[in-house]
């Protein structure tokens, strides 16, 4: 293991952190610093890019290189940075509004290109900074000042979209689960390619409690499922429920034995779906991305993690290839072109 080069405090800036009291962003910022300090990338190689929104203030609160840009365009700008200098570790911080409203197109294209970006989408299911309108992830029926009779739009599921955009790394975590959050960020940091992480984040002011089912200690274990590589999908306080497939249709089963050890029973642990984040096909991850409260437990952890060459790697590879093929680039020769004539 590399020794930590940074402490979380090294990442503090002298700016006052300004979110509403109780906002989930505080926890995310703290764990982000924690993860960065553990990830071992020197501070000067870190770049944080964001768009606009409460979540997008993150770059101002981290003593790294940072660029808060404009609504939804973070992924494009971050891609430019990686193309200029692939040595940098570039993080994109976005929100459900920033990243999925104006920014959906850019997000998809960054992901399919597999630019080596760590994209964190803070999903609070609302436009926070503009004072609480419904966002592309708001649930149907959400009442806001912009939708006084309730939102009528089917919400996007960020992870489904990322998977359809051919993501190589897709994960989900939540603001209050500090350990899981840090671990997930660390996994994202170590992925080569676009790592897309959805973070459930509580907006205290405009959408308070929308994730209570997944965070409230009294119920969360019944409604969430932690993915572990090559392990069956088991959840519940007593770990006595599992997810099984009927064809490609998921269903919840009660395990006959809490530990899943009772052999020969009909609802046997061996019938459960075994998680595989690294399969060739994204279908399993897609299926998991669609499990949602209240019918199903919602999954946390790494849905998908596969290898594919990065965009900037290939782009620079072609440049190297061209240089190899043509020998060292001579500007005079280029200026002269194929055909010249001389006037004495």
């Amino acid at each position: 293991m590399t020794l930590p080069l940074l402490t979380p405090a090294d990442l503090d800036t002298d700016r006052e952190v300004r979110w509403c009291p109780g906002c989930g962003d505080f926890a995310i910022l703290a764990q982000l610093k924690q993860a960065l300090s553990e990830a071992g990338v020197p501070r000067e190689k870190l770049v944080f890019v964001s768009g606009f929104g409460c979540s997008s203030r993150i770059p101002y609160y981290l003593n790294t290189y940072g660029f808060q840009t404009v609504q939804g365009r973070g992924p494009a700008i971050a891609t430019g940075i990686k193309i200029a200098n692939p040595e940098l570790q570039v993080w994109v911080v976005t929100g459900d509004g920033d990243g999925l409203s104006a920014g959906a197109g850019h997000l998809i294209h960054a992901i399919r290109r597999n630019v080596d970006l760590k994209i964190l989408l803070f999903n609070n299911e609302v436009f926070g900074l503009t004072k609480g309108q419904n966002s592309p992830t708001s649930r149907v029926g959400t009442r806001t000042k912009a939708s006084p009779l309730g939102s009528i739009e089917t919400p996007l599921r960020p992870l489904s979209l990322a998977l359809a955009a051919e993501a190589t790394f897709v994960a989900r975590t939540v603001d209050v689960d500090v350990h899981h959050l840090t671990e997930t960020l660390l996994r994202a940091a170590s992925h080569r390619g676009t790592a897309f992480v959805e973070i459930y984040q509580n907006c205290k002011i405009f959408n308070d409690g929308v994730f209570d089912y997944a965070t409230d200690k009294s119920v969360k274990e019944e409604h969430t499922l932690h993915l572990e590589q090559r392990r069956p999908l088991i959840f519940g306080r007593d770990r006595n429920m599992g997810v099984r497939l009927n064809g490609v249709v998921p269903e919840i089963v009660q395990l006959n034995n809490g530990n899943g050890n009772s052999a020969g029973s009909s609802n046997h642990i061996d019938d459960l779906v075994i998680h595989d984040e690294s399969g060739d096909d994204a279908t399993l991850a897609f299926l998991l991305s669609r499990l949602s409260f209240p019918e199903f437990p919602e999954c946390f952890g790494v849905f998908r993690c596969v290898d594919r060459p990065t965009y900037e790697g290939q782009l620079l590879g072609q440049i190297a290839e061209a240089r190899q093929a043509h020998g060292p680039a001579k500007l005079d020769e280029l200026l002269a072109g194929d055909e010249t004539w001389t006037v004495a």
Partner: protein
């Protein structure tokens, strides 16, 4: 000059060129300049013929200016008007700054080519027509009601109707080729004929053929034979009983090449990045005509040109801006619709004060407009097309060579002043070509970056050097970690600030930074008298037509001069003073009068507008006429 209209068929179809006979002595017409246009169906190889004729003319010591005209349809039906492809070469001893108002010699390979280009022929001009292509269904397809070679519709034109198919085929009869291959040689026959007409050397073209078709000896041989047959046909056959002589130009000594506007832009950008010792990130989204530049750049990977194709123009500028933040030279190229889309991102570029270059190759607008036509109507958009007080540098290239110079200058200014630079070109300019004296790499101006304070611990990204540029602190360097963004920032610390006075200071500072670039700009120069009756002031690609027109007008006793604005924001410091030295100012523009408006807005100068909004460049004659009109009304 008597029009010698020949009855068609004067050259008997089977008149295969006889064995060489001593060249007939024919009368020679002397011309200071001449314009030749090759026109035919898209597949007829007209671009190739044009390019070869250009080289030959350059080798013969002429100034050249060329303009291709490609069909807008991607693959129009064969023989249709929409499928006509043309290539014009204006060459001569001097004043060949445009593609020429009228054509002296037109080569028309089919009826559609004749139909489209006949109007451009000079009265008394020569039309060399491929008579083999004038079957009734062919001229019907071109929209003729009768065979134009026979119905007198070419009156006033010197017509040489030759069975080019047959002549060419006969010349290569001994070579084994597929019918398709054989047919494709005929452009060389026509070319050879025109070489004879203007006494061009055939050797450069023969050399080119040898290189190009090295892998295909039969085609190599056939093309060479066809070219020479065309030449000899001119020599030996009285179908065109005259030749032209176009004297050599007086070139400054040096090494020259042909340069299109697009090539100029590409080379200028690459050279600047090379001198700045930074990678060039050229991010763009295909759009006509800027996509041609994208294609140029994509071929330059060996110069560390990184060419991401973006999902849209917003992303394209975003990529460029990100690249600049990351330490590269970020460039994007687009046309009007793309520039419009980039308005918000340009605002960010101004606020973040990052170097980047936006090339806008203007085309007919508004909206999608006339994508295949040229125009100069994005000037005010370039200057004012962003919310808030949002100044940036605007340049406009005047000629293909200037495309090189200003692309280079755009990068230099962007980096020196930490600012986005919009470089305006247009569809016409990007495709036009002229001879360019190749500069020595070491003679190119240095690309300076603002001073970066080495004392990293107290690094403040918003402190400025004497030219008001903030430092370019590139990620990767310890101690210079900093945050920038689209929010207003404190004038000292660079932190986000909504303080009233600070905002006002920052607005003024951004304005002053751009305005005072004028201090280092070259003065606006005139061609012609330094003061007098009339200044013809243009900007961008109209320079050729304007200067030629003014040159012609200078023969009158009135003092007429020409000047071309290449720096539109800021303008050269002497602009207002210069304008005041003339009694009148004429501003020809391919728009509704945008520079005129700007001159009034900036300097209170009243000018006379000459606006053409037809998707086509000015002819020299149009400007000449307007000058005459003004000068007449003066006297």
């Amino acid at each position: 000059m008597a029009a010698i209209k020949r009855t068609p068929g004067a050259v008997p179809p089977e008149s295969v060129p006889p064995a060489p006979v001593p060249p007939a002595r024919v009368p020679v017409e002397e011309r200071a300049q001449a314009t030749v246009r090759f026109a035919g169906d898209s597949g007829d190889g007209m671009q190739l013929a044009g390019a070869q004729f250009t080289s030959a003319s350059a080798h013969a010591g002429n100034l050249v200016f060329t303009l291709p005209e490609n069909p807008t349809e991607i693959r129009a039906p064969a023989g249709s008007l929409a499928g006509v492809s043309g290539f014009t070469i204006h060459f001569g001893a001097h004043s060949t700054r445009t593609a020429g108002d009228r054509v002296d010699v037109l080569v028309a390979m089919n009826p559609a080519a004749l139909k489209v280009n006949h109007p451009a022929l000079q009265p008394g001009g020569l039309a060399i027509v491929n008579a083999d292509a004038f079957a009734p269904d062919e001229w019907t397809k071109a929209g003729y009601d009768a065979n134009p070679l026979e119905d007198g519709s070419l009156a006033g034109v010197r017509l040489a109707a030759l069975p080019i198919n047959k002549l060419s085929r006969a010349a290569i009869a001994r070579i084994k080729l597929s019918p398709r291959e054989a047919e494709r040689c005929r452009n060389f026959f026509a070319l050879g004929m025109v070489y004879w007409l203007f006494d061009r050397p055939t050797e450069p073209t023969l050399r080119w053929i040898r290189a190009k078709f090295a892998m295909n000896p039969a085609v190599l041989e056939a093309n060479s034979l066809s070219l020479m047959a065309g030449y000899r046909f001119g020599e030996t056959n009285p179908v065109v009983p005259f030749r032209f002589r176009v004297p050599k130009a007086n070139f400054a000594p040096g090494k020259y090449r042909k340069l299109t506007g697009n090539e100029g832009l590409a080379l200028g950008l690459v050279s600047a990045a090379h001198r700045a010792e930074r990678p060039l990130v050229f991010a763009s989204c295909p759009i006509h005509p800027a996509s041609e530049l994208m294609h140029e750049m994509a071929e330059l990977k060996r110069f560390d040109v990184r060419c991401p194709q973006a999902e849209d123009e917003i992303a394209a500028l975003g990529l460029a801006l990100g690249a600049s933040f990351g330490g590269a030279i970020g460039v994007t190229a687009t046309s009007g619709p793309g520039l419009s889309l980039q308005s918000e991102m340009l605002g960010l570029a101004v606020m973040a004060e990052l170097p980047c270059v936006i090339v806008d190759l203007q085309r007919g607008g508004p909206s999608t407009g006339l994508p295949g036509k040229t125009e100069q109507a994005d000037l005010l958009q370039a200057l004012f097309g962003r919310h808030g007080e949002c100044p940036l540098v605007v340049l406009a290239a005047a000629t293909p060579s200037d495309c090189f110079a200003l692309a280079y200058e755009a990068v230099r200014l962007a980096v020196r002043y930490m600012t986005p630079v919009i470089l305006l070109g247009d569809l016409y300019l990007s495709a036009a070509a002229e001879a360019w004296r190749i500069p020595a790499v070491d003679d190119l101006p240095a690309i300076e970056t603002p001073h970066l304070d080495a004392n990293g611990s107290a690094f403040q990204p918003n402190l400025r050097d004497q030219r008001l540029a903030r430092p370019w602190a590139i990620p990767g360097v310890p101690g210079f970690e900093h945050r920038i963004g689209g929010l207003e920032k404190n004038v000292e610390t660079g932190y986000v600030s909504s303080d009233p006075d600070n905002h006002e200071r920052m607005v003024h500072l951004r304005a002053r930074k751009i305005a005072q670039i004028a201090d280092e700009l070259p003065a606006l120069a005139v061609a012609g008298p330094e003061s007098g009756d009339l200044l013809v002031l243009g900007w961008g690609s109209t320079q050729g037509a304007i200067q030629s027109a003014v040159e012609r007008a200078q023969t009158s006793d009135l003092a007429v001069a020409a000047a071309q604005l290449r720096y539109l924001n800021p303008m050269p410091k002497n602009t207002a003073e210069l304008l005041s030295r003339y009694k009148k100012v004429l501003v020809p523009e391919l728009n509704g009068g945008q520079l005129s408006l700007l001159l009034r807005a900036r300097f209170g100068v009243e000018s006379i507008g000459l606006c053409k909004i037809q998707g086509e460049p000015f002819t020299v004659g149009e400007i000449e006429m307007k000058i005459a009109e003004i000068l007449q009304s003066k006297t």
